[in-house]
């Protein structure tokens, strides 16, 4: 075996690590691809022990073609990230198959590092980061082991430990580079079809039941840091898409409102906050009703929706402010027309209901309260599992089933208002959110998704009306119990989290909040770190805003300063500590040397002492005492601390 040829043990380790490298992708890949990959690894492991089973060049070529064919059938045109990951896994497996020499090892390890980077496209949790760190150590350990002249017997634990040390030493450099490396805002090219990764979130339309699906998800939608106090729950309406158009079943935005100068009057003080939005496939941002200052680069439409570019599928952090009480003023003709359009699913009994209300009341405001009264007094129930509704769901919900979720209430209420001639629209977004006392910020989850209604009244402009609050006021004040029962019978009313939960639940809650606080810092500092954050960090450190060039310079300098520091640490670790006896003897020789009695390299202590005494008979007593003690301590069997001290004293008292 030439030194460039790999032995069995590195190949075994390489195969196992390769398996671990791809393992987190198994869930994302087609089962057949995963199985094929595992088969390749198993074949490799088998051939390590039975080399004659190793496929020849032609068979290997066949396997390659078969793998490529499989990938191209499963993912035509290699669309989407999973296809690319599948290709990468195939490459990794096949390279491993033909891995014989040191050069191949490097290729596999480099491919491995690359594979690690692909995991982060799918998952950004701390657990995955830990996993990736372990694999970086494993891969680097392989390189370390391969750089040795001969490998040690047994498993290369020593190399792994050294790899862990190297990784630990690389961490400060990593942090400096991470925080200072000039950020280029992506994307560099259009991501196109890769956008299709399913992420939960609101969509720009609702059908009855779409939000109640979303609400089962405990995933975080966004987190909010307020500049001052957090507003009370009843004011925490996070405005998302505004829906104008309905066909009776489905509500959608219709033609988007043009962006333009949007004004409203308000006497309330502005509330400032920063939102860290989790990746979603949408291009709108959320703000409290109604937004005032917008994030940089965002636009506000006439119905107060914020949209922004380049916010899709990434964690996005933005600053905004809102005023929580407002008057929107006059209604444009277009908005009036859109706010009164009706689907053709209106039934006579709906008309009759509204006509009854209209007859008994004076103004629009009174009619609105009459309608809310209707929802409150009739036996309506708030439930996560509404019964299935037929072809005319609104009618059926209003008069028959009467069990529904926020979107049932909001959409039917809006339709009734339009029937009564009051311009109305459905607003979707999030309501409430949980305050985390550990980080003093608000967590808004998918389970806080909500839909409400807005009506236009002459005296207050567009006015938020939440019919759900009429039926279930607890929904607005508190969030759901976390363990939503998926299999509850249809129509069972929802139980809300009560303030007096038992102790264990409280502790669990505390733990969850702690975990989320850690997660939030993780998101704020690592995942959400961007050019903006970089600039504010620099300002915090007192550097002001640096140009790209100065930033790069600062980065290089900081990194360059770290290396000598590390060197110092390493030097300290293996500084040579002479043993005290040896140290005393060296000192003794040094003192003699100053008097011209230099010990020759070939002279042992006895010969040297003899020569010293011959030249300086006056020193005989001291020199022989010291040398005899030294010989006894250094070469004799005893290692008496008392004798060692005595030698030390003798040498200290020795003057030539």
């Amino acid at each position: 075996m030439t030194p460039n040829e790999l032995g069995r043990r590195p190949l075994l380790a390489l195969s196992l690590i390769t398996l671990l490298l791809v393992a987190p992708h198994f869930a994302r890949l087609d089962l057949r691809i995963s199985l094929a990959f595992i088969a390749i690894i198993l074949l490799r492991l088998t051939t390590l022990y039975l080399p004659r089973l190793h496929p020849g060049r032609w068979l290997l070529l066949g396997i390659t073609l078969a793998g490529a064919a499989l990938i191209f059938t499963l993912y035509p045109l290699l669309m989407g990230l999973p296809a690319k990951v599948a290709l990468l896994a195939l490459m990794l497996g096949l390279k491993l198959m033909e891995c014989r020499r040191r050069r191949d090892l490097y290729v596999v390890v480099f491919l491995g590092y690359f594979t690690l980077s692909t995991h982060f496209l799918f998952d950004q949790g701390m657990l995955l980061v830990a996993y990736v760190c372990v694999l970086v150590i494993g891969l680097s350990g392989l390189l370390i082991e391969a750089s040795r002249a001969t490998s040690r017997p047994g498993w290369p634990l020593h190399s792994l430990r050294f790899a862990a040390g190297l990784t630990a030493q690389a961490l400060p450099i990593m942090l400096v580079l991470f925080f200072l490396f000039p950020r280029i805002e992506g994307p560099l090219w259009n991501l196109g079809v890769d956008n299709s990764i399913g992420k939960t979130g609101l969509s720009d339309s609702i059908t009855l039941g779409s939000i109640s699906q979303l609400i089962r998800s405990r995933a975080v939608a966004f987190r909010v840091d307020f500049d001052q106090t957090i507003p009370p729950p009843r004011l925490r309406y996070w405005r998302g898409p505004v829906l104008w158009h309905s066909d009776g079943r489905r509500w959608s935005r219709g033609r988007l409102m043009e962006p333009g100068p949007v004004t409203y009057r308000s006497d309330a003080d502005p509330v400032g906050y920063q939102v860290t939005l989790e990746p979603s496939p949408n291009d709108w941002l959320y703000a409290l009703d109604l937004p005032e200052t917008l994030p940089v680069g965002a636009t506000l439409s006439a119905d107060y929706q914020i949209s922004a570019k380049n916010v899709r599928n990434r964690r996005y952090r933005y600053v905004a402010s809102s005023r929580l009480a407002y008057h929107t003023g006059a209604l444009s003709e277009r908005q009036r027309r859109l706010g009164l359009q009706l689907p053709d699913t209106i039934t006579p009994r709906m008309r009759a209901l509204v006509a009854g209300w209209r007859a008994g009341t004076g103004g629009d405001a009174q009619l609105v309260s009459r309608a809310l009264q209707f929802f409150r007094s009739e036996p309506f129930y708030y439930t996560l599992n509404p019964p299935l509704l037929g072809t005319n769901p609104v009618d059926q919900f209003l008069f028959d089933s009467r069990r529904g979720f926020c979107e049932h209430y909001a959409t039917s209420f809006t339709l009734l208002m339009r029937l009564a001639g009051i311009p109305a629209r459905v607003v979707t977004g999030y309501q409430g959110g949980q305050r985390n006392p550990l980080g003093n910020y608000l967590i808004v989850r998918q389970s806080d998704a909500h839909a409400w209604s807005e009506v236009w009244l002459a005296e207050s402009g567009w006015t938020r009306i939440d019919p759900t609050a009429a039926v279930a006021p607890e929904r607005i004040e508190r969030s759901f119990e976390f363990d939503l029962d998926e299999n509850a019978d249809p129509g069972v009313p929802v139980i809300f989290a009560s303030a007096d939960s038992d102790l264990l639940r409280g502790m669990m809650q505390q733990f969850r909040l702690g975990l989320d606080a850690a997660n939030a810092s993780w998101h704020r500092w690592i995942l959400g770190y961007s050019r903006q954050q970089q600039q504010s960090l620099l300002q915090l450190l007192g550097f002001g805003s640096l140009s790209e060039f100065k930033l790069a310079l600062a980065m290089v300098l900081a990194t360059a300063a770290l290396l000598p520091l590390l060197l110092l640490l390493l030097r300290r670790r293996d500084r040579i500590r002479p043993d005290p006896v040896q140290g005393d003897y060296v000192k003794f020789c040094h003192r003699l040397a100053r008097r011209g009695l230099v010990r020759q390299p070939h002279e042992g202590p006895r010969d040297f002492a003899r020569r010293v005494i011959r030249q300086r008979p006056d020193l005989q007593r001291q020199v022989s005492a010291i040398v005899n003690l030294y010989i006894a301590l250094r070469y004799g069997p005893s290692d008496d601390p008392q004798q060692r001290r005595r030698l030390h004293q003798l040498v200290r008292g020795f003057r030539a």
Binding site: Y113, L116, S117, L166, M174, L567
Partner: protein, 316 residues
């Protein structure tokens, strides 16, 4: 990948008065290997991917790997720093053979230093892993192209440990020296008779021909002359003595091979010396400026060959 630093800029690690050398901080060169360049390319790829997907964890991984590369640079450099080197002795050899230079490499540090390679200019490298606080002997060979003193050529001490991404090396100039005898020539018949001279004394039991008796063994006696049969009878170690040395005094003369060029003549003389030594003969050697008194044994053989090796070279 081997890089040639221009000769005049080379910083060498030289031996001190006692011949030992210590690798200093300023004498170490370091450049990325082709794997190192590949690694840089990999980092660029991951970085571009991270920019494109605005993936901060991708950035984190890029920078962790970049940090690993930088830290590895420090460790590669430190792997050579402070190594001590002492040239060992090298056996004499004939021209055309491989000279073997020994270098004692010492690691005074408490940590191990794996992957240390030593290499003489264009020859095969020798690699080893040095345990903490240990010494290891590396033997380097180089072909002896000419007779005389063969000083150890410039030697390259290098390492790629820990990650193999960087190649650190330093140029060693140590005082090792091997003596190269002339290559033995074909057996050229000497002109004129070999001059045998009867010696004045002889037959004292140090000849090679006639058995004259046994004496008790003294340290240094050739094993070939030990009377093994006597030893087998458990009568102690006895040395056989031979007579006949009186007549066999051979003079090997420079003048015996006229018409040959210097090197060819030295080769012929070398062959004659080897033949005489083989026959356990007493021989003397006469060169134009040097005369070696007749004697026999390994030391005479070496003295004669050394005289041939150093013929024409200035005396040290």
């Amino acid at each position: 990948m081997r890089w040639q630093v221009p000769e005049r800029f080379i910083r060498r690690c030289r031996g001190d008065a006692r011949g030992g050398a210590t690798v200093g901080a300023q004498q170490i060169y370091i450049i990325p290997t082709r794997y190192g360049l590949g690694f840089a390319l990999l980092l660029l790829l991951i970085w571009i991917g991270s920019v494109n997907y605005a993936n901060n964890l991708g950035f984190l991984l890029t920078f962790l790997l970049a940090g690993l590369g930088l830290v590895a640079m420090l460790h590669t450099w430190r792997n050579l720093l402070g190594l001590t080197l002492r040239p060992g002795r090298s056996d004499p050899l004939f021209k055309g053979q491989q000279a073997r230079f020994e270098i004692q490499v010492g690691n005074p540090r408490d940590g191990e230093r794996p992957g240390i390679r030593l290499q003489l200019a264009a020859h095969e490298a020798v690699a080893g892993d040095l345990a903490p606080r240990s010494e290891q002997r590396f033997t380097l060979s180089a072909r002896a192209e000419r007779r005389g003193r063969f000083s150890m050529p410039r030697c390259i001490l290098s390492t790629r440990y820990p990650l193999g991404l960087l190649h650190a090396w330093c140029y060693l100039e140590l005082d090792g020296e091997a003596l190269v005898y002339p290559a033995p020539g074909p057996r050229t018949p000497a002109t004129g008779q070999p001059s045998y001279q009867p010696s004045q004394q002889g037959d004292k039991g140090v000849g090679a021909d006639d058995f004259v008796g046994l004496r008790s063994y003294r340290p240094g006696d050739s094993p070939r002359q030990i009377a093994w049969k006597v030893q087998a009878r458990e009568q102690g170690l006895q040395t056989k003595q031979f007579g006949g040395d009186r007549a066999d005094q051979l003079w090997i003369n420079w003048g015996d091979y006229p018409g040959l060029e210097t090197e060819a003549r030295l080769s012929a003389l070398c062959r004659a010396v080897l033949d005489a030594a083989e026959r356990q003969q007493v021989f003397g050697l006469r060169l134009p400026e040097l005369e070696l008194k007749p004697a026999r044994g390994d030391s005479q053989r070496h003295a004669a060959l050394a005289a041939l090796a150093l013929y024409g070279e200035p005396r040290p």
